[in-house]
């Protein structure tokens, strides 16, 4: 275990814990909004940021954060305006990001080897200043993902209902994609820009197989994310492979293990839900002097195994020595 005494590994492990917590946290909302591949697209946009940083000889992480957040806002505005045209525009944005990133990196005299550190992660590339940025942004994303969980859950589950609640749906939608963009870029040192989307989606799916409820699922996904990210960093050290690939393979393995559990749960559940679970409260009609019966003159409505009598905005049925509201 002397591996954890190595300074670069300590930085990589801290970054892995943060990434493992943050990616599935924001990923829960991204999955709920059925935008599972958003992280993948944002990863492509972030590559442009890395290329720009290499060309301008600046630190890649802050530049990538700014470029990716700007791209995320653009993507959300396109989504708002209509999906048909948005699809094509998204493709242009994503592949434009990738191509321009590679072009700028090439112009800066950097080859594919340099870029691959950002695409698939690299243990040795996490600098102390990177770690500070990852920690600060990670905490911001975590506070928002957990603290605003009720609001973001409502917006993702039902936009119209959220609007009628008076929630600022547009602002929350923007917040989700901006947080996703920050997560993608802060994860580029550990899991990498091309694989980060997997860490946003797969632990969420795994957690859904294991835990009941939205909030349990959120925390479960974060726990699974930390375990696979840490394990992946250790595995990467010993196997001398990029950490991103190791992390994602472990995440998929965890998902595969969770699959039989959900299948078993489905089998043990009743096949169909019966609607008549509990009777609605028994509600006697106050002071009902008239006795309903054939020819009493009130309107009759069939109701299950009996008839109700309708008058004055009420519907009554005889029950013992009184009438009930039906």
């Amino acid at each position: 275990m002397e591996v954890i005494t190595l300074a670069f590994m300590q930085r990589a492990l801290i970054a892995a814990i943060l990434t493992g917590l943050v990616a599935p946290a924001i990923g829960t909302y991204v999955v709920q909004r059925r935008l599972s591949l958003l992280g993948d697209g944002l990863g492509h946009v972030a590559i442009a940021g890395v290329g720009l940083a290499l060309l301008t000889h600046t630190s890649p992480l802050p530049v990538a954060v700014v470029v990716c957040v700007a791209g995320a806002v653009g993507i959300e505005l396109l989504r708002e305006r209509g999906r048909a045209t948005g699809d094509v525009a998204l493709a242009v944005l994503f592949y434009g990001g990738l191509a321009s990133g590679v072009l700028m990196a090439g112009a800066a005299g950097q080859g594919a080897g340099t870029l691959s550190n950002y695409l698939f992660g690299s243990l040795t590339s996490v600098t102390a200043s990177d770690l500070v940025i990852v920690a600060v942004l990670g905490v911001v994303v975590l506070i928002a993902s957990v603290g605003l969980a009720p609001q973001m859950f409502a917006v993702c589950a039902d936009e119209d209902f959220a609007r009628v609640l008076g929630l600022r749906v547009r602002a929350y939608n923007l917040l989700i994609v901006v947080l996703a963009a920050i997560t993608v870029t802060t994860a580029m040192r550990t899991v990498g820009l091309l694989l980060v989307s997997a860490l946003m989606v797969i632990p969420v799916a795994t957690s859904q197989n294991l835990f009941k409820g939205f909030r349990s699922g959120l925390y479960g996904a974060m726990g699974i994310g930390v375990v696979v990210a840490l394990s992946g960093v250790f595995g990467s050290f010993y196997a001398d492979v990029p950490p991103g690939a190791f992390i994602v393979v472990l995440a998929i393995a965890a998902f595969a293990v969770s699959w039989p559990i959900t299948s078993w749960r489905h089998r043990s559940r009743p096949l169909a839900s019966v609607d008549e679970v509990e009777p609605l409260p028994h509600e006697p009609t106050p002071e009902h002097e008239h006795v309903h019966g054939p020819g009493c003159g009130h309107r009759v409505v069939e109701h299950g195994d009996h008839v109700d009598y309708v008058h004055d905005g009420h519907r009554h049925v005889a029950h013992a020595d009184h009438y009930d509201e039906h």
Partner: protein
């Protein structure tokens, strides 16, 4: 002084340049259950969405509890029941979904109070789903899901309930249960505006019905009542409005 829950005056809505609602005027008074009827494409759902501010209107006025829609912020006064909720995380529980109804009065970064939790349990009990409270929403039947959506709308104890086709995909027995539930809410003094394809089981509850055709109000009035002796009501049938009323004019 009682304030009229909904007043719509000369409302015009166009979507994508196509007129959907034309010169629509109506009101829903407190203690009324009003049905919004009409065929597919008549503009019922668009009208509901317009008066909730979910689609913009080009001209005309909408006032909710006496406040113009643009200035209306007391959203806890409206309970909205959409046709269905799309819950993509399949483990979301009934309680979690109903709890989201508390957000109209809850500030960000605050926990749900003990009273709030008790209110959530109370409305789940009111719709008869206490035993299902911690079950996944997606595993419920269509009728039970509809009751969950009603419970979610009721959490803030709104004086106005707006329901968009609550009977879509729901069998007749469940429709009857939903109608029973709405009747008990109406007895509590709630105003109800409900979009329906046909009045059917709702008919005994309705104070008035508004019929839309091609985006215009073609009928607005009290439903005809008849005595069928002991024969059952004919299923479905046409809407028979005998008394045209426009009380807000």
């Amino acid at each position: 002084m009682s304030v009229i829950p909904v007043v719509v005056d000369d409302l015009n809505v166009s979507l994508g340049g196509l007129p959907i609602l034309r010169d629509v005027s109506f009101a829903v008074e407190q203690h009324e259950v009003v049905a919004l009827l009409g065929g597919n494409g008549s503009g019922k759902t668009t009208l509901v969405k317009a008066l909730l501010g979910l689609v913009p209107h080009q001209s005309g006025e909408i006032a909710i509890f006496g406040t113009p829609l643009a200035q209306f912020h007391a959203w806890s006064q409206i309970g909205y029941v959409p046709q269905r909720a799309s819950v993509s995380l399949h483990t979301t529980t009934v309680r979690e979904l109903v709890t989201s109804g508390t957000l109209s009065t809850r500030r960000p970064f605050t926990r749900l109070s003990r009273a709030g939790k008790a209110r959530v349990s109370e409305v789940i009990e009111r719709v008869g789903l206490t035993k299902k409270a911690d079950d996944a929403f997606v595993h419920l039947s269509g009728g039970q899901q509809q009751r969950v959506l009603i419970a979610r709308a009721l959490v803030s104890a709104p004086p106005l309930l707006v329901m968009d086709e609550p009977f879509a995909g729901v069998d007749l027995a469940t429709q009857q249960r939903l109608a029973d539930l709405v009747r008990s809410l109406h007895d509590d003094g709630m105003a109800v505006l409900v979009v329906l394809h046909e009045t059917e089981v709702f008919e005994p509850l309705l104070s008035r019905a508004i019929v839309l055709r091609e985006g215009r109000v073609v009928k607005d009035g009290v439903l005809e009542t008849h005595d069928h002796g002991h024969e059952a009501e004919p299923p479905g049938g046409t809407v028979r409005i005998i008394e045209e009323v426009r009380p807000w004019r």
